[in-house]
Symmetry: C2
Subunit: 576 residues, 2 copies
């Protein structure tokens, strides 16, 4: 039976409890959002003792289901003030599942302001001081912990940014190579972890078991069908394995929706130099690995290994959104610099999307020039040093806009927009505006139907139909995030009818249930409603579900559109 | 007939118009809020072209009514995102009235990013370039302008902070000595002025006339009664003239409500060293002026002149809130340092309350130590230089809390609290929570009835009755701000029945009306409703009318109370 571990950082006690009835049938985002919504005062300080920080693998975690090892992190967000869930690949999610842990719930705050680490294994859960790790980046932190806890463990940690409680601070998870390169990046969850005095979690799965399954045969058969759907689909079977997520650079550029120089244009002249094709090419030239999974059980393997010109490891392949945030959005076309920045972000522990946007905003203010990749590298170093300038950047795009008096700041609910301009790709604009998380592409990835013609097609430049599209995607995504599946399974799920059936079959086989596809929809709706309810109690309403003014008054070249989905349409997203 | 001047900063055109019917019968805050509410999109960028910046003297401006020369400045606030009105003493308000100008309305934004100044006289209104003033503080700006426009004019200007569009930037108004020491301080209105490319306004009243009055005899008689009420009341007749507003330091300290070291205690051991009695004493010792009016027609004259040890002018007497913000709230007991900082704030053009709070928050984070007055002076210099650290401080307390990961941040709607702790003086807590302006003592000054026993008495430590108290004060204040009267007239108005009658009589005599006291109440309610309506459309609701969490969970010594006015009570304030 899965358990919840409650770790009280005020008195350093740990309590194991059965999953309360109200949380049963939930995992991943569904579980983190249920706990935050039920247990956290929406008015609390996000970095105070009354916030809670929750780690939860998904409902299919710890099984042989492909790409099921994601881990959700939830809390009230220091960046947005809303509820927040950010999920990550890497090893820890699957390891927690193998230990029979449905969730780690961190509560309170140490009175002594000291740093601690949690060790979890089959036999024990133990807090101990971690002052020796203070001030270390994620790489050094993991390196230090490996010496004690070895290579069998998975590591969760924060870098300096989390310790400093910066609003762009992320939570790092180690990948299969025990590098801290997978991150729950968005919304400042690393700051919540820092506010709890929690520097790291070490998860040793030794002796743990695959999750119990009610009907093993049925599960195996469904898992096989699901895997086939993933490998059959051109995006997950071919595009992502070959070029990584960075394959999108040229696609989104062609679509005129690649935000360039702080969202002032939709095409970047240097796109090809930083796109997935180039990434693949230089990786092969440098004898790196272009196809590599971020977690055990991944069969998409979109994450390559980035080597420098001398063949030394720099980082995992930077994701599309990272390449964009620090590349086109800053007018930068230097992939080596971007990879170094990606590594620095992973090490310091900051969201690449938020900080890249912050730097673009700073560039608009003239702090550095657009295109100045050396300047961008200087700025990320400032973040790592915790200088005042670094703290501005590390507090995100909105904070940077405030500090430097910039009007064009691409945020919703204070969270910076990812790599798709809503004026050229209107479905994603609806998601940014209405997501319970602030501007977030992953919560309703309209790029599929708008651009890639996956799951049908809705013209990206036409306002009509985008609200319905986003609503359906947001519901499906909430369910996928609850299952613990990598969001990229949405590609086959949207195009190959049997993929969703296979997921339902696996849930039924694992838990001895008899769910239907409609139940998955209901689950997604239930999660969104809990999140929305929290946000309403925190003071958010439909009036906050809007894009920033400049997107309604400044036309984006080359299509020269503004964002013109009506407020009525935006308000219709949550009418279910 | 009074006119509105509309100054379009996009095309540099100026239009004079009659007061539209919907704005008639309004002045000061009533007029600025009416224009903002009717004409500004609540979703616009506060520093973008669609915000408007409005200057309006009050309904009694330009008359011989005592203390009637205040000027209101209105816009959407870059700090709070709400509607904003901040008003100031000084000469420009009365001068505008004498020119027959009910309001200056600045619209748009110059495409060339250049700085401009507006010159207004009896015969003309003219925009001209002001690039030569770029980067100058308010003192140098006024000094430079005086050489051209002389000593008969009144000057309105922004310092560097306004040019940089910092959220704590103020708008400066010259006093009778032509020093830029009276400020519309709160809510970042200087940033709005900067965003309009407006460095200064020069108002030459030469040839202007006293405002036309329908019944001069009746007005004169009522004005006399009003003046008598002011001089008869002990606060306005004796306390304020002798000790300035700083007289409150020892009073509020005694009450246990003097926020000390970033709102961690309610009494400061060094209070007496920075209180009004000391201020008066050293002023007399240094042959300064302890009793001095900030504007023509002031008969309270609470603003002395602060001289340094050698007898040289430093600044006007720092106000109580300034002395508190940079004194007790930073653990500082050095009045000379505080006066130098006050001068620096006036020169740079930042709100002393917001920046003092920001520095206290930074001190809590360890940027400087509490009590380090030299460190505080260094920080205000950083603001003046526009360094990253200075930009953090200049963006206010909330921004500083974000940058340095501080949980105890005393703000409501992102605006820092003034010099009264809501846990020990609960009526002012209701005003902070529910004001349309964010935390603002001037919008419903419950200190009168809670502490000074002016206008009755409500025990400051008891939660009951505070909501009703604050409601009535907020209504009365909105009316006083509309009349253009100095808020200190509220002391006699609350205690001497004839004072309100005299105000009504003056309004009737000036405009040929037959208002009653009830009409004044209706006017106040009308203004609050317009402001509240704007805020609701901007996304604010009763859920935002709350104090920060720490005031509900941390007890304030010496009374060891938390803020315990119920949410229901807070929500009752706007039920009228």
């Amino acid at each position: 039976m899965f358990k919840i571990l409650r770790i009280n950082m005020s008195d350093l006690s740990i309590k194991k409890e059965d999953i309360p009835e109200k949380y049963q049938g939930l995992g991943g985002r569904g579980l983190t959002s249920a706990i935050v919504s039920a247990e956290v005062d929406p008015h609390c300080s996000a970095i105070g003792p009354n916030n809670k920080l929750i780690f939860a693998p998904g409902l299919l975690g710890g099984t042989n289901c492909a790409n099921s090892g994601r881990i959700s992190v939830g809390a009230k967000s220091p960046l947005t003030g809303t509820i927040k869930e950010a999920n990550s690949g890497g090893q820890p999610g699957g390891y927690l599942s193998r230990l029979g842990i449905a969730a780690l719930v961190f509560e309170g705050q140490p009175a002594d302001n000291k740093l601690y680490k949690l060790f979890v294994s089959k036999d024990k859960a133990e807090l101990s001081q971690a002052e020796d790790l203070r001030g270390l980046g994620n790489y050094d932190t993991v390196e230090r912990l490996r010496k004690t806890f070895g290579d069998k463990a998975g590591y969760v940690s924060i870098g300096m940014a989390g310790e400093w409680k910066l609003a762009a601070a992320s939570v790092a998870f180690t990948d299969q190579d025990i590098h801290p390169v997978r991150h729950a990046g968005r919304g400042g969850l690393g700051a919540v972890m820092g506010s709890k005095g929690l520097k790291a979690i070490v998860i040793d799965p030794t002796g743990g078991e695959a999750a119990p399954i009610a009907d093993k045969e049925a599960f195996k058969e469904a898992a096989k069908r699901f895997a086939k759907a993933i490998t059959d689909h051109p995006v997950t079977g071919q595009g992502l394995p070959a070029y990584g997520t960075d394959v999108l650079i040229n696609i989104i550029n062609e679509a005129g929706g690649l935000p360039t120089r702080n969202f002032s244009a939709g095409r970047f002249e240097g796109a090809d130099k930083v796109g997935g094709e180039t990434l693949n090419k230089i990786t092969v030239e440098r004898h790196g690995t272009p196809t590599h999974g971020c977690m055990t059980g991944c069969i998409i393997r979109c994450s390559g290994t980035f080597l420098d010109e001398k063949g030394a490891y720099v980082s995992k392949w930077p994701e599309y959104e990272t390449v964009w945030a620090w590349g086109p959005n800053c007018g930068i076309d230097n992939l080596d610099a971007i990879a170094r920045i990606d590594r620095a972000c992973d090490d310091i522990g900051v969201d690449t999307i938020e900080t890249g946007n912050a730097v673009a905003v700073a560039m608009e203010a003239g702090v550095k020039a657009f295109g100045d990749w050396a300047g961008a590298e200087e700025l990320i170093k400032e973040v790592g040093k915790g200088t005042p300038l670094g703290r501005i950047i590390g507090s995100g795009a909105a904070a940077t806009g405030k500090a430097f008096g910039v009007r064009r700041v691409p945020v919703v609910k204070n969270q910076a927009m990812p790599a798709y301009d809503p004026r050229a790709i209107k479905g994603i604009g609806v998601t940014y505006a209405t997501s319970t998380m602030g501007a977030d592409h992953t919560s309703g990835y309209a790029i599929g139907p708008n651009i890639m013609k996956v799951g049908g097609y809705v013209d990206p430049l036409v306002p009509d139909g985008q609200a319905e599209l986003s609503r359906n995607l947001q519901i499906a995504t909430a369910a996928v995030d609850t299952a613990g599946l990598c969001l990229f399974v949405a590609f086959p799920v949207l195009d190959i009818p049997d993929a969703l059936v296979a997921i339902v079959d696996m849930l039924n086989a694992k838990y001895g249930l008899s769910l239907t596809g409609d139940d998955v929809t209901s689950l997604g709706i239930r999660v969104l409603k809990m999140e929305r309810d929290f946000n309403e109690r925190a003071g958010f309403s439909n009036v906050d579900d809007r894009l920033p003014e400049f997107m309604k008054i400044e036309k984006l070249p080359p299509h020269n559109h503004v964002f013109d989905v009506s407020d009525e349409d935006l308000d219709s997203v949550y009418k279910f």
